[in-house]
Structure formats: structure tokens, C-alpha cells
């Protein structure tokens, strides 16, 4: 029984219940009481999650069944369903990402979410518990429960507070993810039934299944694909990405931040934990095909970003490209690629989360996101321009900032598997520089031609404070990636050694002292 992890996972849920009981109408004396309560709970969750990082004993992690901060209680006894949670070096960075981004996302919606604030805050906190639950669950039933739990709040966030085509976007998002997750449900049940037929015992415990299950190759492939489809939709992997531009564009700013920052990572995490962890043989067979899809996604996402007129859509398509790197790293099937993928997930969460916050700032002021409407904002909004520059550079992976480390490790890992992968993926990196710098140039440089841009206020204190933590982390992870790599690499190594045994394991790992 580890209280810290339990508390981190369920504190946001407690916050949501507290908010539910609070008065609908904010009191006159303190109109922001609801917002402050929600922010308080999410900040406190973040503070509680810090000890996880500080006291984490670096270990082999899931690959050898070695989890930390474990709580394991038999829950639904006749079925062998456990309430089993724990973390390893792969999930811990993502948990910290979640607890870190949620308060910032709340801040980004501080004034832009005007109607039905209470419901909004409750849904955000519920979503946080759902996401954390996915990362900590070590029981397939529990995992599926949390996985589905993230779905409804997100649909409502898009559907209620989104922009004009919000209902369309919410339904599209929902249909895609529902199809994926229900197929995954069949695979989960099939796994359990197969295990029960082999051992005579029902269990949903992930570690027990991993240790005790013997699957023939054909079954592995099918089950792998059923899990993979759900995760590939979430990531999203080309060609399953088409829900993403709509969902991102229509979602309110905090929704976009969470969607891009954390929800996409559920897919990447799922591939690592379930596809690689449970079906290593199928992963080996299918890795080349998946890597090719990932590379297509990297290049396709970059090219389409370049063609966008809407700022938010541009950032959305850049996610398709960046998450393609994550999938490529995972299916390089070596410790370098896998560590790079985990780090890239954190980095993408930080930089794209920040980009959506920045887009939200300008949208609040100008009520447009068309690139052609802007120009010369560097003069009227110097602070904004400076922050945007840092985040843009982080997103296009300039050395010294966080984005570089992850993408470099992924490319190195991909190179070790097949140099052609790396060659094509590098094209994606170059294209990222093209579309991001082009975007920056259109918005900030040159003279102010549109008079509306002259009178725009620069960032206020709240907006600066919601962005500064991310900027700090961009530099911290860029200059001292060992902070996370130290915990990621051993877990990645043990996971990779389960899937494949070859020379790539002995590659020297960069960036580590």
C-alpha cells in the first residue's frame, strides 16, 4: 500500500467531488472561488507527485515486473480483478507531465472559459484522474476503466466549450476512440479467457498475465492489432489521425492543452506497456510496417502543417508529425529509441501544450486564428514574441532545448534498426523547422500592416505565470536531460531486452554522464 501514488491519482477526483458540492453561483465576495479550488487541488496534486520523482528507486521496471509505489488489493474477487497500481521509469515521467500540465491548463482557461465554469472545472479534474489512472494501472480491468473514463470528460469539454463546429468534432473524436477502445476490450477479455483456459484461473492482473501467458504467434498478432488500433487512434498514427485536427481546433484552449499535452500520450504509453510488454513476438514481426506508417505520418504531418492557414490547425498537424517520431522510436525496438520516445512524449507535451496556450492567448485578444491576419506582433507584444520563440525552437528541436534530446535519441535508435528509417525521419525534422519558422515569421516579424495588431495588449501576469514553468522545464530538460533519462533508460533497456536480443543493446547512450 503506497499512499503517495494513491493520493496523486485520486486527489483530482476528490477535488471534482468537492466542486460538485459547492454552490453553483460564485459568491460576490470571492467570484473566483471555484477556480481557485480547482487550481488548488491540481497544484497540490502536482506537489504530491514530486516525492515520487525524488524517492524513485531506479529499477528495471515493467520489463522484469519490478514496479515502484505499488498498491495491490484484490478487488472483484470472483474474476481475479485487482486494484493494482504502480509506476516504473516509463510511466513516472508521464505522470509528472500530467500533474504539471493540468494546473497550467486550468490557468490558461482562467478567463476564456466564461460559461458554466463549475462543470468545466469538474470535468478537467475528472480527466486528470482518468489520465493518471491509465498511467498507473497494472490491472487490465482497471486500465480499461480509466481509459474509458478519459473519454466522456473530453467529449463534453469539446462539445460544450468548443468553437463553432464543436459538436461535429466531439462526435468524430468520440466515434474514433470508441471503436478503438471497444476492440481493445475484446482483446483484453480474450487474453483473460486464454489465460484462464491455460491455468484454470481468472486474473486481470497485468504482471500475472505477462508472466503466465503463452500465446501462439497467430493469436499474438491478432491481440496485438486489437490493442494497437486503440493506441494508434489515440496517438494518432497516420492514417488514423483525421479526428485530431478537428478535435484540437474546436476544443477550448485548456482542452487542446490537455488533449495534445497528455491524452495523445496515452496511446504511446499503451504501445510501450501493452503492445511491447505483452506481445513481444508480434511487435517484432509488425515493427517494420508500423515504422513505415510512423515515417509517413512524420512527413505527411509536416507537409500538411505547412499548408495550414489556421494557426491552431497548424499546431494540430505538427502533433501528427511529432507523435510519428514517438511511434518510430517505440518500434525501433531498442533502448535508445524507446527512451527517446518516452522523452519525446514529455517534450511534445510541454512544447505543444505551450503552443496551444500561446495560440489561445492571441485568439482571446483578436478572435481569429488566421495566420494572414497577423504580422509585426513582435513590436506590440515583445514578451509574447519572446516566449513563442523559445517554444517554437523547442518544438523544432534546437540543441540545448528539450525537443532536441528526444528526437535525437529516436533518430539514433531508428538508425540502429534501419538507417533508411532515420534518413526519412530526418526530413521530417527539417520540414518542422520550415513550417514553424515560417509560422513565426508570419506572425511576429515585419511591420504592423493590420491596425488591429498594433493595439494588442502584451501578456498579463497570469498568462506569463502559466507559461514560465514550461519555459523553465524546456531549458532544464534541454540542458540536463539526465533528470528523466536516468529513470527512463533502465526501464527502456529491460523492456527492449524482452522484445529483442541483439547488438543494439550495447549502443552507447548519449547525454548521460
Amino acid at each position: 500500500m503506497n499512499m503517495t501514488l494513491l493520493a496523486v491519482t485520486f486527489l483530482p477526483l476528490v477535488g471534482a467531488l468537492v466542486l460538485l458540492l459547492m454552490d453553483n453561483q460564485p459568491s460576490r465576495r470571492n467570484p473566483a472561488v471555484l477556480r481557485w479550488t480547482a487550481l488548488g487541488f491540481s497544484v497540490f496534486t502536482f506537489l504530491l507527485s514530486l516525492p515520487l520523482l525524488l524517492t524513485f528507486q531506479t529499477g528495471a521496471g515493467f520489463g522484469s515486473g519490478d514496479m515502484s509505489f505499488v498498491t495491490d488489493v484484490l478487488w472483484i474477487i470472483p474474476w481475479g480483478i485487482h486494484f493494482h497500481i504502480g509506476v516504473d521509469g516509463i510511466s513516472l515521467p508521464l505522470i509528472l507531465l500530467t500533474t504539471f500540465l493540468t494546473p497550467l491548463a486550468l490557468l490558461s482557461g482562467w478567463t476564456s472559459i466564461e460559461k458554466r465554469q463549475k462543470e468545466f472545472l469538474i470535468l478537467m479534474l475528472l480527466l486528470e484522474t482518468g489520465m493518471l489512472g491509465v498511467f498507473v494501472a497494472l490491472d487490465l480491468f482497471l486500465f480499461y476503466l480509466f481509459w474509458e473514463f478519459t473519454l466522456i470528460p473530453m467529449i463534453l469539454l469539446i462539445g460544450i466549450w468548443g468553437s463553432d463546429r464543436r459538436v461535429y468534432a466531439a462526435i468524430k473524436f468520440f466515434l474514433y476512440t470508441a471503436v478503438g477502445s471497444l476492440l481493445m476490450l475484446i482483446a483484453i477479455l480474450a487474453l483473460v479467457v486464454i489465460h484462464a483456459n491455460q491455468t484454470g484461473q481468472y486474473t486481470f492482473d497485468l504482471l500475472a498475465l505477462k508472466a503466465g501467458l503463452k500465446l501462439d504467434p497467430a493469436a499474438q498478432i491478432w491481440l496485438f492489432l486489437a490493442f494497437f488500433l486503440a493506441f494508434a487512434i489515440k496517438v494518432p498514427l497516420w492514417p488514423l489521425h483525421t479526428w485530431l485536427p478537428d478535435a484540437h481546433t474546436e476544443a477550448p484552449t485548456p482542452g487542446s492543452v490537455i488533449l495534445a499535452g497528455v491524452l495523445l500520450k496515452l496511446g504511446g504509453y499503451g504501445m510501450l506497456r501493452y503492445n511491447l510488454g505483452l506481445f513481444p513476438d508480434a511487435a517484432r514481426t509488425l515493427a517494420p510496417a508500423i515504422a513505415i506508417l510512423a515515417i509517413i505520418g512524420i512527413i505527411y504531418g509536416a507537409l500538411v502543417s505547412f499548408a495550414q492557414k489556421d494557426l491552431k490547425r497548424l499546431v494540430a498537424y505538427s502533433s501528427v508529425s511529432h507523435m510519428g517520431f514517438v511511434v518510430l522510436g517505440i518500434f525501433s525496438l531498442n533502448p535508445l529509441g524507446i527512451s527517446g520516445a518516452v522523452l519525446q512524449m514529455v517534450n511534445h507535451g510541454l512544447s505543444t501544450g505551450a503552443l496551444f496556450m500561446l495560440v489561445g492567448v492571441i485568439y482571446e485578444r483578436r478572435h481569429t486564428r488566421l495566420l494572414s491576419e497577423f504580422g509585426g506582433l513582435g513590436i506590440s507584444m515583445p514578451i509574447y514574441a519572446a516566449l513563442m520563440l523559445i517554444i517554437t525552437l523547442s518544438s523544432l528541436a534546437v540543441p540545448g532545448l528539450n525537443g532536441f534530446i528526444g528526437e535525437f535519441a529516436i533518430l539514433q535508435g531508428a538508425f540502429a534498426t534501419n538507417w533508411i528509417y532515420a534518413a526519412f525521419a530526418t526530413v521530417g525534422m527539417i520540414l518542422a523547422a520550415v513550417y514553424l519558422l515560417w509560422m513565426y515569421q508570419q506572425i511576429f516579424t515585419g511591420e504592423i500592416k493590420n491596425p488591429a495588431n498594433a493595439a494588442v495588449r502584451d501578456l498579463n501576469r497570469r498568462e506569463i505565470w502559466s507559461l514560465v514553468p514550461i519555459v523553465i522545464m524546456v531549458f532544464v530538460l534541454g540542458l540536463y536531460p539526465a533528470l528523466f533519462l536516468n529513470i527512463i533508460v533502465p526501464a527502456a533497456q529491460s523492456l527492449a531486452s524482452q522484445v529483442i536480443q541483439h547488438a543494439a543493446l550495447t549502443l552507447q547512450f548519449p547525454f548521460l554522464p
Partner: protein, 494 residues
């Protein structure tokens, strides 16, 4: 144990039904007393049913089997009755609150009959779920049907209600006739109406029971027509949308759950006790009917704009899901069917309770009237969200666990294709359930006047919401009870 004690639920309900009828005759119009009497009767019957837990024996010349399987279904039927009585209390509003003739009529006349018939319907369910002989099965089904016809046509001067009752009646008579015809086949084969004896005779047929397939399978199909009508599964469902729409809403809630409780109990018992030898044959038939029922219900529900009709098609689809548990002939199949029927009962009544609040206040059953409910009455919208998500099978609500249970049972019997169809159907159903969520949470309300929830409805909704949450998160105790019951029945079968 004494027979009278084993039959306590039936006896109590019958006596109280007569008391309610008599009381209303002598002192008309005292609704509070009638409701109290009805609820007391249901409560006592439930205690009586629980008292017989663990008995597992047949009585009355083997026509009635008192077993745990029956007890659990009895409790589900009683819970449904009690909650519908609560619903009925508020659906019959004070005459002054509304000018709508349909409701004023219910408010002023014949209240005693309503509650008495509810109790009689409950009696018929008690017999139906423990019936062990074809004759008693037929009698109980007819008893339940007649009570249901009267309830559906209760608004005598309302043309929709009358039309619904006529349709229900015509359809019911034809399927009942088909069922009796099918039963006569089984009697002809075995020379007995007793379910276990039928199984024994079939198993002992020389040279091999195979030679009976040509007559047993037509009999199964004909009997399924009768049961299928009761549980409103495709293709015997055509009566249900019109009956649901025309009946007073509390009655709709009742006929959407109570006949399903009784129908599924007797359907599974008949197949499993009398015809275990042919289980792969009827298993295939049931699987096809499950696909038909799920797909048809869900596809048509997508287009419905009236909440009662939509829930009608949704419950046709739900019947399809339950059939999966029957197609998976196994102990887990029985358990999952029992669990799902119980959860479905609680959830569907909750959803109808919300519909009653809306129609009481706005006088219509259109889904569009749910617009902005989240602002007019946030807790009502939240409850409806719970019920819809549970029907759709979203965790951590009980409906999810029910589906999960059914799917596992099917996978255990290698019915993977059936689970695939069910999953695709779940996605379809999510769409229309979520469209109501969308209307409640996204669409702007027509007026901002808050909606009031009558106390009895709030109680009913609260009970079902708490139950689906608790059963979703801590299903272990109920599963243990169900497993015991299923194991006992499975033993009879093999």
C-alpha cells in the same frame, strides 16, 4: 419446509392486491394509503423470497421450482414493481397542475385498480420465474400479459393508449398461440409437461436423441415466439415501440423491464432444463436472434426523436445483449444473464423516471425537450447521464460490468464473432445515447425556469443511480450470489 412458506411472496402479493382493490372500493381516492399498501406488499414479498434462499426444491407436483435462480429474478421483479409504483405516484399529478386531459384522467379515477394490477403483475412474475412445467409457464405468461394489456390501455379515453393496448393484445395472442403449439410438440415427444422429465425422456430416446431434432427444433422456434414477445426481442418486437409510446410512462417503464425479467428467466430455464441435449442447436438460433435484436434495435433507435420510442428500440437492443448470455450456454452464461437483467432493470427505470419529470413539466416526450437540462436541473441531467452511460456500457457503471460479464461468457464459449457484433452495436448505441447527452449539456435551454423533481421520483432515481454505481464498482457480493444460483441451475441441466 411448508409449501405455504415457500410460496409466501405469491401469497402475500395476492392478498395485498385484493386488499388494495377492496380498500379503493370502500374509501376511494386515498392514494397515499394505496401506495403504502403496495410498497409494504412488495417489501414483505421480497423478505419472503429471500427467506427461501438456498432451498432448491420443487413443490406442487413439481410444477414450481423454488431455487436461488428464481429468487434472484423474483427480487429483480419486485424491485421493478416497487420503483414503478414510485414512478406512478408522481406521474399522476394533482389535477390542477395540468390541463392535459390524459393525465387528469389518471389523476381522478380508478387508482386502486392501477396498484392492484401492478401487484397482480408482480404475482405473475413470481410464478413465471419459478415455473417448472410448461402448463404453469403458459398460465403465468398469459397472466402477466393480461395485466400488461390493461396497464397499457389504462388511459381509456386516450386514443394512443387504447391503440397501444390493442396492438399489444393482438400480437400477444398470436405469439401465445404459437407458443402453446410448440409446447404441444414437446409434450408429444415426451409425454410430460415437466421440464426435467422432458430432458430425461429426450436423453433416453433410442436409438439416439438425434432422431428428435426434426420435431424439437420447430418446437423451440415456436416457443421462442412466445418468450420473444415477452422480452421484446427481434423479430417479435413490433408491438413494443407503439405500446411504449402509447402507454402512460410509468407503465412503459414497467413493461420495459418486468416482462423482460420474467421472460428471460423462463426462457433460459426452459432451454437449459428441458433441452440441454440440443444446446448447440438452440444456442445458434439464439445467437442469430441476438444479432438481429441488437442490430435492429440500435439502428432504428438512431433515428428516433421521441424519448419513449428511442428507449423502446434501445431496450430491444438490450434484449439482444442479454441473449448473448443465453447463447453462451454455461454457468457463466447464466450468471452474466442474471447480472445484466438486474442492472438493466434498475437503469431503465431510472431513465424513464427522468423522462417522466420532463414530460410532467413540459407535456411532451420529445428528446428536443431535454435541451439545456444541465442548466435547468443539473442533478437531473447528471442522473440521466449516469443512466444513459450505464445503458451504453461505459465504466465504472454497472452496465459496463454487465456487458463485460456477457462478453467474457461468450468468449469463453468461443463465440468471438458474436462479441464482435455486440461491440460494433455498442458503438452504434453510444451514438444515440450520447445525442441525448449532447441535447442536455450542449443545446441551449428554451427557458431558464428550473425544473422541479417530485420527491418519489427523486427517491426512485436515487436508488437506481446508487445501485448502478455500487454494482459497477463493488459487484463482488452480487456476483457471488449469482454464481451460487447459476451453479445450482447448471447442475440440474447436466
Amino acid at each position: 419446509m411448508d409449501i405455504a412458506i415457500l410460496l409466501l411472496p405469491e401469497i402475500i402479493l395476492t392478498i395485498f392486491a385484493l386488499i388494495v382493490l377492496g380498500y379503493d372500493l370502500i374509501w376511494p381516492g386515498r392514494k397515499a394509503v394505496l401506495v403504502t399498501l403496495t410498497l409494504v406488499a412488495v417489501g414483505l414479498a421480497a423478505i419472503g423470497a429471500i427467506y427461501t434462499w438456498g432451498t432448491n426444491k420443487t413443490i406442487m407436483a413439481d410444477t414450481i421450482s423454488i431455487d436461488d435462480y428464481g429468487v434472484l429474478f423474483k427480487l429483480a421483479g419486485l424491485a421493478a414493481t416497487a420503483m414503478v409504483v414510485l414512478l406512478g405516484m408522481s406521474y399522476i399529478p394533482e389535477g390542477r397542475r395540468t390541463q392535459d386531459a390524459k393525465r387528469r384522467l389518471l389523476a381522478i379515477s380508478r387508482q386502486g385498480e392501477f396498484y392492484a394490477i401492478m401487484l397482480f403483475a408482480a404475482v405473475s412474475i413470481m410464478f413465471l420465474v419459478s415455473a417448472n412445467s410448461l402448463v404453469l409457464i403458459y398460465l403465468s405468461i398469459e397472466f402477466l400479459s393480461i395485466a400488461s394489456y390493461i396497464l397499457v390501455g389504462y388511459l381509456r379515453d386516450d386514443s394512443l393508449s387504447t391503440e397501444a393496448a390493442i396492438k399489444y393484445f393482438l400480437y400477444g395472442s398470436v405469439t401465445a398461440a404459437a407458443m402453446v403449439y410448440g409446447m404441444s410438440f414437446l409434450y408429444g415427444v415426451s409425454g410430460s409437461v415437466d421440464l426435467p422429465t422432458i430432458a430425461k425422456v429426450i436423453a433416453g430416446t433410442l436409438p439416439s436423441p438425434e432422431s428428435l431434432r426434426g420435431i424439437v427444433m420447430p418446437a423451440v422456434v415456436l416457443i421462442l415466439a412466445g418468450f420473444g414477445f415477452k422480452v421484446a426481442m427481434a423479430p417479435f418486437h413490433q408491438w413494443s415501440p407503439d405500446a411504449y409510446e402509447g402507454a402512460p410512462t410509468p407503465v412503459t417503464a414497467f413493461i420495459s423491464v418486468a416482462p423482460k425479467v420474467g421472460g428471460f428467466a423462463v426462457l433460459y430455464r426452459t432451454l437449459i432444463v428441458a433441452l440441454p441435449y440440443f444446446h448447440s442447436d438452440w444456442g445458434g438460433t439464439i445467437a442469430i436472434l441476438a444479432v438481429l435484436s441488437m442490430s435492429l434495435g440500435n439502428l432504428v433507435a438512431l433515428t428516433e426523436r421521441n424519448i419513449k420510442r428511442m428507449l423502446a428500440y434501445s431496450s430491444i437492443a438490450q434484449a439482444g445483449y442479454i441473449l448473448i448470455g443465453i447463447a453462451a450456454y454455461s454457468q457463466m452464461g447464466i450468471s452474466s444473464t442474471l447480472f445484466y437483467v438486474m442492472v438493466y432493470t434498475l437503469t431503465n427505470i431510472g431513465a424513464f423516471a427522468v423522462a417522466i419529470v420532463i414530460s410532467n413539466a413540459l407535456g411532451s416526450d420529445s428528446i428536443a425537450d431535454f435541451a439545456g437540462l444541465s442548466q435547468r436541473n443539473p442533478s437531473l441531467a447528471l442522473l440521466m447521464l449516469f443512466f444513459l452511460l450505464s445503458l451504453a456500457g461505459i465504466p465504472p457503471l454497472a452496465g459496463f460490468f454487465g456487458k463485460f460479464f456477457l462478453f467474457t461468457a461468450a468468449l469463453e464459449q468461443n463465440l468471438t464473432w458474436l462479441v464482435f457484433v455486440a461491440v460494433i452495436n455498442s458503438v452504434l448505441s453510444l451514438y444515440y445515447y450520447l445525442m441525448i447527452v449532447k441535447v442536455m449539456y450542449v443545446d441551449p435551454p428554451e427557458s431558464t425556469v428550473p425544473l422541479e423533481t417530485p420527491r418519489p421520483l427523486a427517491v426512485a432515481m436515487g436508488i437506481s443511480a446508487i445501485a448502478i454505481l455500487v454494482l459497477g464498482i463493488f459487484p463482488t457480493p452480487l456476483i457471488n450470489l449469482i454464481t451460487t444460483a447459476a451453479a445450482a441451475l447448471m447442475q440440474v441441466s447436466s
